[in-house]
Symmetry: D2
Subunit: 355 residues, 4 copies
């Protein structure tokens, strides 16, 4: 109800503010008897972690997950998996200056108005730090559907973009550079641009493309819970996301049906895939691919006008350690959200079988 | 679970195939004692109805709603509102040719694979006829939130688009033309283009822009159920939708933070509104606006390769009466889905108050 | 949310007032490709129907179910099953006298206070007529779990009760008499007593016992959704039910652990079954059995004090055609609710399997 | 889905096994800006805690709650309240003997069969230690509805019972004795009996009565989620509960309607209250009262036959520190569950208002 859960069968509920004692969550409905790969979970946490390269925020967050339940002798037991990620290194003093002010394009103001109270330390619940819990759950979800391959990567930063179809990219190069762009020439340009932006104390937006391969036919529910609708919601729930398109996306809106239809091969695969692997909300076995737009983060290391809770406008100098461009660190988050949606539908699909 | 419901407090569940006896739904959680305007409901049905102009499908659907419960002496009673829309004029014979074949970019194939059975008559459950039930519920939802104004309109057809910001448009012109485009010069071009496409037996995509005004501050739930995430899911659940963006959208991904941030006025409004009326998933009182991309409909009045259930490719001539461009009739559906989401969050928001 | 749905995977939502145009519901999540036995559904409707014998109400309700969707060529398609039961023979005039009054121990008063409006005709939504929709859905649920046997029967009427364990009863005798009591000597006494009560214009309570056999091990979810908790809720949701006990029930509260524990046999079955086939909320393969207490129905054909909406007490003569004892007709409802719960958990259980 | 959540608006999800690192939970949907009384929370924890008197188990559990989120400067913020209760003093060695055996009337066997794996230490997830999380959440729920008074007490132990109506009892005496029975003469007998049972290494069942006073009219949802149905489910979800009755309960099933109906006073209150404060599933403002039956706990300090995972029956001596009678410690749990249900419906009720 209150928006802190995702999924129906494989269900994640998260809690935690950026400067509270800990973040965490509960995964309910994870199948039992799954031998968990904890290194794989920690690997995803490292990918999301601040401070991993010079182009991302230098905040230090240890991001060590502690599993409190639902796992016994390394295996899931079918009972809820409770976990916490302690907030070990949060500097509360960095945020005292925003106690009585609302920063532009932050959630400060609306939280105060909605709830009548606000944990002003570092964004509180609206901080992207919350996504750490999503990455934990997503890393477990991936292990429920090991044959399905999920690869996300940075496809644009500002005006710089990869001008190739994803089929021409080598996904094994994604982790080879700080931007997480598999096209290395483009990656270099992006990295240089982000350094420039950082010097200016500014920020810049970007897009992430995600490709899901080896999906069984039949995942997704028709009508309101179409597979792409649920993927879209999951992506739009990530901080700073302003757009989602799958398959032909917004380009498809300019096309004619005779250009857009995907003709079948005799085995049920299709010659083209403008449908993006989904027909009528249900996977058709072709690659699912989609693109997610992130706006530039609102926190700048510049002077900006802010609103006070006394309804005055004052000038404030932004400070702290923030990402000049959020997309490199958002790549594992996009993958995690995709894994949560796909694993959930994978499990739900079993209920259609009477035998 | 099975994807036929939307909403949490104001909850709609729909049923019905395009060629069954009737479509319909249940609205559960509608506030009591609301005097319903039935003409307003029927007006929305007329807007969605096929055959209303020469540029949409000439199929006749009466689309008369019958309310079976939940309304007494013209007022809602707080009990579930059950309604049906009989399928009075469905020509089953039109569809017999697709019994054993799967049309390209339709849901025929995936339904067959997912369920092991398929109502092949006219798309069955995957037909856009299902959206008639959404329009009924959306028209009621609008009456729950009468002070909030929701206006959707066609903003592009193929390559033709309105090149003005929505603030320069007169929403009272939306219903003045068959395309539902408030910019009349553009509307004329769109209409001419759709006629051309129709002559070719082809179809074309388009986009719809929706603007929601006079929204109270505080609607939306943080984290997974952000207001724009739920709006995005609702829009992506409409047949043929391939993309959703709100506020600055995909353009925002190219911008710098210093350009993108919306500075406050002293009263809490903002000078610009690239945030699209939503901060951290919660409405901030500014206009909410978003754009929805529709692919061209897959049914063409041309010869196309189709797959048979014997795994052969054969050529089939498309027939029947279909929309060359779906966006004019999708305008009331976009509004209905927006109304469902906003009304739901409006009611949910009451639960945060202890007094 | 608003209480008109039951189930998670196999989910029923109902609508309809006793004197509206129709009752009905939507079953969402029914497995596909199940060949439905429509005679079996109608048979259950006949069992619930008023007027079937001289000891039940002589109201005539045709109770003919019309399926509007989700079934194609006799089989379920996996899409929602919408159905209606028209209210063909409701005499509205019978109820005009209660428009401005609240009958004792009816829901009139609380509906008016909760919703600010009330469909006063015949109890409206609070009428037991709503259970017709449950019987439809329960009859379909039974067909999802055909190997599981559900038998309910009347175990007491007033002070008259069967003084044998259920193992000594022949369930094939349940339908042999108007009371639905398989112990024929007791059945006769019950029937005579109900006739006597009817003559007095009074009503009497009773209990129904339900036995579920051949249940697979493992149904039920631990903690909040224990199998017996869900069964209990389902039974308590039936009109007039005031109590639920399973296995040893209230008697078990008087026992010692050394008497109560069920020793195992080597095959995992147990020598005794005071646990009622459920351990820790999960079925253990033994018979599940429980008992449901129904209070006497509140409508009497006697003079009674009633409250007016002007806060006066006046004397009113009860009239109409009502059941002197509700339990005989409640037997199929108890079975239907049990079937809904068991089928739902049966389907949910599939999601624990990763392969 | 997987049964670890309760509530819709005020929603609790719990995790944790008896011998894992910690138990805990997330409360989602708690209204914001509520100043929490932490002493009141800890007081409820003390009431549930083992080792508080000589007639309950002598296990030591510190049961100190740590709040990790959702509370800021002592007030709720409207974001999810995450909390943990570390398992500080669990003696794993006590349970090694049950690794390969299934104890009679425990959940060992069904967990193993359902999940294919089992955390055998001390009952794992099926341990009543899980209820500690419920007491935390219930104590917060009580603070949402401060004017509603919830009092539970032990009404019987074995064959010993209070033979007075609850109106003749002084609830302030409940905490005055180890049994939590407000009738002191009966309390003494109960205590003596429990000591006797304890000496025998046996256990005994009992009942708890709960009275909820000062309830606003209109709480509860009709049809499937009737107030008493939800209360019943909540109670039946407590470990060892085998029965639930409210108002006249099972006695009501023996009565005639003319005896059972509650006549109105002119102010809408009723002269009698056999309805138990609920009509048609909705509170009517009178006292809500119900009774809960607990079977004797299955763990005995005696020799018992157990089943091995090699399908052999062996004799095992029960050991450890267990409650001879669970009802004294279950009193705060019953109150907590009642508070969760009432608070949830209290909040949900706000959504019916359009203004």
């Amino acid at each position: 109800m209150a928006g802190n859960s995702i999924g129906t069968i494989f269900k994640l509920t998260t809690f935690g503010e950026s400067h509270g004692e800990a973040l965490g969550g509960i995964i309910d409905g994870c199948p039992s008897n799954v031998l968990l790969d904890f290194d794989a979970i920690q690997f995803e946490m490292q990918r999301r972690k601040p401070g991993q390269s010079s182009i991302v925020t230098q905040r230090k967050e240890e991001d060590e997950v502690q599993f409190l339940s639902g796992v016994f002798e390394g295996k899931t037991t079918g009972t809820p998996i409770g976990f916490i990620i302690p907030n070990t290194n949060q500097k509360s003093e960095d945020y005292s200056h925003i106690k009585d002010t609302y920063r532009p394009s932050h959630a400060d103001y609306v939280y105060e108005k909605k709830y009548g109270i606000r944990d002003y330390r570092g964004g509180g619940r609206s901080s992207a730090r919350e996504t750490a819990s999503r990455v934990v759950a997503g890393a477990i979800a991936k292990q429920i559907i090991p044959t399905i391959k999920i690869n996300a990567f940075v496809s644009s930063v500002g005006e710089i973009f990869i001008d190739k179809p994803y089929q021409d990219l080598d996904f094994s190069k994604i982790e080879s550079n700080a931007v997480r762009c598999p096209d290395l020439a483009t990656a270099e340009k992006m990295e240089a641009y982000i350094r420039e932006i950082k010097k200016q104390g500014d920020s810049v937006g970007g897009t992430i493309t995600c490709v899901i391969q080896n999906v069984p036919i039949g995942l997704g529910e028709p009508v309101f819970d179409k597979l792409h609708a649920e993927l879209g919601k999951a992506m739009l729930s990530i901080n700073a996301v302003h757009g989602f398109e799958y398959g032909s996306g917004f380009c498809g809106a300019k096309m004619k049906g005779s250009e857009h239809n995907d003709s079948y091969n005799e085995d049920g695969t299709t010659k083209s895939n403008l449908s993006g692997g989904i027909q009528g909300g249900i996977s058709n076995g072709m690659d699912i691919y989609f693109r997610v737009a992130f706006k530039p983060v609102a926190t700048l290391l510049q002077k900006q006008d802010v609103l006070t809770n006394q309804n005055e406008i004052i000038v404030q100098q932004g400070k702290g350690r923030h990402d000049p461009c959020v997309v490199p660190r958002a790549v594992p988050i996009v993958e995690a959200m995709a894994a949560l949606v796909i694993a959930d539908y994978y499990l739900l699909n079993k209920t259609y079988q009477t035998q």
